[in-house]
């Protein structure tokens, strides 16, 4: 691990914990991240689960990993390549070695490299003994299993139970390696296992043992010190995208004093939003697991009609099923938020992997002219903000809003500065105020064109809505064709006017120049980092702009595009934003950089592409 070995100081580092599904790598990674955050680092994390619920122990399919990037600068992604790889068994090494940087460090539980485990991983001999490996990487052979046994031997536990603390032993080693204090990890373990003092004791002992082992052995080489990042003051917590999405809704509901009704059907990778809201009965939130996605969205429509904040969450296949009812919400003009946590399609595709291929569906998936608001979050923590904004816009414009996130955001996590509720934008519920005028179901706010959201329980506001075309103002059913045309235009205009409220889009890097990188949604981190690295390397004339609002778009887009010679649209799909941009701003020429490998962009890929493109 030459790079780290020579430098005790690094600006950022990527660490990957990996082991068998039963080895507790997720918790280990989270604790490490937390200690880094407390040490003042920015960071981003991503878990990497096996697709199967439980693969055989020690098998390649059963490897579970957790990756974190931390730094003394702003960190937008969990990192491409790994500096330090922790492997708890041969299978973990086999599946993860490809992630390791040349010269990177491997910390391996050497005890687990038994004949049996090697065979399960498809090795004939121990790869640790391999000279090639030792030449290319810095290999630390730590006897984690035996040290754990040793440390806990007098606790009178069964072997299996003892082995559950192996991960804390490994964590201790890594914490020392990064010169972290172990205090708050100890506090955490003691709180978590309050009711199981023996487990707490075992974990703390293992942790300390690992730490001491690292301190006393020379195996590790010099430790790494990452200076703290400049991070705005505030209280922080780590948050993953699905939790942030769920909390955004709760915040919106509280802000406008409505009850949240989340009506969903489980689907990977969106289920956790439903799980979280199911726990939030304690906040008065309603969660409903419907019998299918259609029932879910219809129930959310019913919820909104009845005056609650109706939301439905799903992923691709479910989003397809919801298209018909989204049309109903569009013509009935009631608030509704549809969250699509995208995964790899088409059809069942690769359900646990990430892709950005539902954009065109979100824009155009419904029969008839059925425009609605489409937006996308760009990081795990800003899922909170866009979820909040989706609710706000749905309510204020009485319209369905599609919020696109994806698998990568959903499970990735990032520190989140806890907002003060007073700082979040106000949400104005469009209630009809009886100051002279007479209310009608399709009376509109003259500015925004939203309807008024009058609900059961409000005496005198009885009315009927539905999917048939409505007469303007009265909302009565009418077959009049001219009225229909007017309503189609009005519904489109209502959405278009949302554009007035959307903040201008930012450009990062060069404001004008040769190449503009364009992205949307979850690729923000990789694109932004690529830009920064290129800037750091002195590349000039590259700008970057990123879409969160996709329909309508911010109104300053043309003024951004026109300042660059070339526009490179980067997406994890076959060119959906590019297709859409061509139809919206046909005056510009767009090139594409697409990756459809069920994986996020690597920063390096973007840099390569951008640099080649710059020269082309």
């Amino acid at each position: 691990m030459s790079e780290i070995a020579d430098t005790t100081n690094m600006r950022k580092a990527v660490i990957r914990f990996s082991g068998d599904s039963g080895d507790g790598m997720q918790l280990t990674g989270e604790l490490f991240s937390q200690s880094s955050a407390i040490a003042g680092h920015d960071l981003a994390t991503i878990p990497d689960f096996p697709a199967e619920i439980r693969a055989p122990q020690g098998s390649l399919e059963g490897v579970s990993s957790f990756q974190v990037q931390l730094g003394g600068i702003e960190i937008y992604t969990p990192g491409d390549q790994v500096d330090v790889l922790i492997v708890m068994n041969p299978a973990a090494l086999k599946t993860n070695l490809r992630h390791l940087k040349p010269g990177g460090t491997i910390i391996a539980d050497v005890d687990s490299f038994t004949k049996k485990n090697l065979k399960k991983a498809g090795y004939d001999d121990s790869p640790l003994a391999d000279e090639e490996l030792q030449k290319e990487y810095h290999v630390v052979e730590a006897p984690v299993t035996s040290m754990t046994k040793e440390a806990l031997k007098d606790l009178g536990m069964e072997m299996q139970t003892m082995m559950r603390s192996k991960n804390m032993m490994a964590l201790g080693v890594v914490l020392y390696f990064f010169r972290r204090s172990i205090d708050n990890t100890i506090t955490f373990l003691e709180t978590k296992f309050k009711n199981k003092p023996k487990v707490a004791e075992a974990n703390v002992r293992a942790l300390k043992a690992g730490f001491s082992f690292a301190e006393s052995t020379e195996l590790l080489g010099p430790s790494v010190v990452i200076p703290p990042a400049e991070i705005p003051e505030g209280t922080y917590r780590n948050i993953d995208g699905n939790t942030a999405t769920a909390w955004g809704m709760l915040a919106a509901a509280e802000k406008c004093d409505k009850t949240l009704s989340l009506c969903s059907y489980p689907i990977t990778p969106a289920s956790e939003i439903l799980h979280e809201i199911s726990l939030r009965k304690d906040m008065g939130a309603i969660s409903f697991q419907a019998e299918d996605e259609i029932a879910a969205i219809c129930a959310a429509i019913g919820a909104s009609f009845s005056g609650n904040l109706g939301v439905t969450t799903t992923s691709g296949p479910g989003a397809s099923l919801k298209t018909e009812a989204m049309g109903l919400a569009t013509i009935a003009e009631i608030p509704l938020v549809i969250v699509n946590v995208q995964r790899v399609g088409p059809s069942t595709g690769l359900p646990t992997k990430s892709e950005q291929s539902d954009l065109l569906q979100a824009l155009y998936g419904r029969h008839g002219e059925a425009p609605l608001i489409v937006m996308a979050a760009s990081s795990p923590d800003d899922c909170f903000y866009y979820s909040y904004m989706a609710c706000k816009m749905a309510i204020e414009h009485t319209t369905p809003v599609v919020l696109l996130t994806d698998s990568y955001l959903a499970s990735g996590s990032h520190p989140w500065r806890i907002p003060d509720m007073d700082d979040l934008p106000d949400i104005t519920v469009p209630q009809f105020e009886n100051d002279g005028g007479e209310w009608k179901p399709y009376l509109r706010d003259p500015e925004k064109l939203n309807r008024y959201w009058m609900s059961p329980g409000q005496r005198g506001f009885e009315h009927r809505i539905g999917g048939l075309e409505k007469e303007e103002i009265t909302g009565n059913v009418t077959y009049d064709g001219v009225n229909h045309e007017k309503m189609v235009h009005t519904r489109a205009e209502k959405i278009k006017r949302v554009g007035h409220e959307i903040p201008d889009q930012q450009v990062y890097g060069a404001e004008s120049g040769k190449v503009l990188l364009v992205g949307w949604g979850s690729t923000y981190g990789a694109l932004h980092t690529a830009l920064q690295e290129m800037e750091d390397e002195g590349v000039e004339g590259i700008g970057f702009t990123h879409f969160n609002y996709l329909h309508p778009m911010p109104e300053n887009i043309p003024s951004i595009f026109e300042k660059f010679d070339k526009i490179l649209v980067c997406e994890l799909n076959n060119g959906q934003l590019a297709t859409y941009l061509r139809s919206q701003y046909p005056q510009f020429k767009y090139d594409q950089f697409n990756k459809i490998q069920a994986r996020p962009f690597f920063v390096s890929e973007i840099k390569n592409e951008a640099l080649t493109y710059l020269q082309s």
Binding site: Q34, A37, I38, G40, F188, I231, E233, G234, T235, Y236, R237, N238, W247, L250, E254, D257, K258, T259, S261, R280, K281, D282, M283, G284, I286, F288, A290, E291, I294, A295, A296, C298, A299, A300, G302, A303, F305, S306, G307, N308, E324, A325, L328, A332, I418, D420, M421, S455, P456, G457, Q458, R459, F461, E462, H463, R464, I465, G466, G467, N476
Partner: protein, 346 residues
């Protein structure tokens, strides 16, 4: 819950529930009677208009909400029960009515129907069973009898129809009633009882479509045949019917036997102690199922409330669960939630 609920009860009449929209059913359609019976029943039930929501799917029947002066949603085909579930679980204080057809509720909407019933969501499902798709001009529905010619079964349907009552009970239903569309009194009564029942009430109305299945219920509802072909079930009363009450029902093992009580005889339970006595409140459904299954010509068609049993409703359970969680939480506000667990300060 943010909505102000109005405590003062209105005294309303049928007329108060009428709207100014022109009613667009065919002249003579059975739907008219259902509408008017519902309006009368609503007046009886005494909920103010703004606390009632009628939710329908798509079909001739599903046009009803436009003619009912309450809150209403004319949703999409088959999804009335799902949409109404969203209303009810969000606002348990509201009186929620699902207006649907045999196609809407039993074909495309079958799943939402059985799930609403299973959950015992406190709402009332009125099924206009004309045994055909009226609005789309005459295709086979899941209740169309075998042999019936329709646009999609020109040589006679060969699909085995559902019996709505059986399906309801098979899906754990707590309330099922059946009424003919030409007995407004009975209909009104059943609707009122449905409205009072806590849980999912299913009311099947044998409705005549004058265009596509005219007379399909004639044998059951016809002037000359109705007495002999309908058994009106009343809780606690013996099962006697027919012109001059000439028939009764007995149990034979687990089967039903139709017995003649003798001509002109005024049969009643006391005279015939072995006649079955209707028990709508019996939680065990086997007899009620047998009654729901009865078919002409061997048996009469059972009318009235076949089953009406108490069970917890989804909306109650949900909201008491929320109430308990709310009582025990540290999260009074979202900011409490945000600050909970592992946080750190910079």
């Amino acid at each position: 819950m943010s909505a102000e609920t109005n405590i003062e009860k209105d005294i309303l009449t049928k007329k108060d529930f009428q709207t100014d929209q022109m009613i667009r059913w065919c002249p003579g359609c059975g739907d008219y009677v259902i509408l008017s019976s519902m309006q009368k029943a609503f007046a009886q039930l005494g909920k103010p208009r703004h606390e009632i929501v009628c939710v329908s799917g798509i079909g001739c029947s599903s046009r009803l909400p436009y003619y009912m002066n309450t809150f209403g949603i004319h949703s999409i085909h088959g999804r009335a029960a799902a949409t109404a579930s969203g209303v009810k679980l969000s606002r348990p204080d509201l009186s929620v009515w699902v207006i649907t057809g045999d196609g809407d509720s039993m074909a495309i909407g079958g799943n939402h129907f059985i799930h609403a019933v299973r959950r015992n969501m406190d709402m009332n499902i009125i099924i206009f069973n004309n045994k055909i798709y009226g609005m789309t001009k005459g295709q086979t529905s899941p209740t169309t009898p075998m042999g019936q010619k329709t646009k999609t079964s020109p040589e006679g349907s060969f699909e085995n129809p559902f019996t709505i009552g059986e399906l309801t009970i098979g899906a754990q239903g707590t309330f099922f009633a059946r009424v003919p569309d030409n007995n407004p009194k009975l209909m009104e009564e059943a609707i009122v009882r449905a409205g009072k029942h806590k849980g999912t009430s299913v009311v099947e109305v044998l409705q005549n479509c004058v265009i596509f299945t005219d007379g399909i219920h004639e044998e059951i509802t016809g002037k000359d045949t109705k007495d002999d072909n309908q058994l009106y079930l009343e809780h606690g009363k013996p099962m006697i019917w027919g012109k001059e009450k000439r028939y009764g029902l007995k149990l034979n093992g687990m089967s039903l036997d139709k017995v003649a009580l003798g001509d002109g005889e005024e049969g009643n339970g006391q005279d015939h102690p072995d006649l079955l006595v209707h028990d709508a409140y019996n939680n065990q459904p086997e007899l009620q199922i047998a009654l729901a299954r009865m078919q002409l010509p061997d048996f009469p068609i059972a009318m009235g409330v076949l089953r009406e049993v108490e069970a917890p409703t989804f909306d109650d359970l949900l909201h008491s669960s929320i109430g308990r969680a709310r009582d025990n939480t540290k999260h009074q506000k979202v900011s409490d939630l945000f600050q909970s667990g592992n946080t750190w300060k910079i």
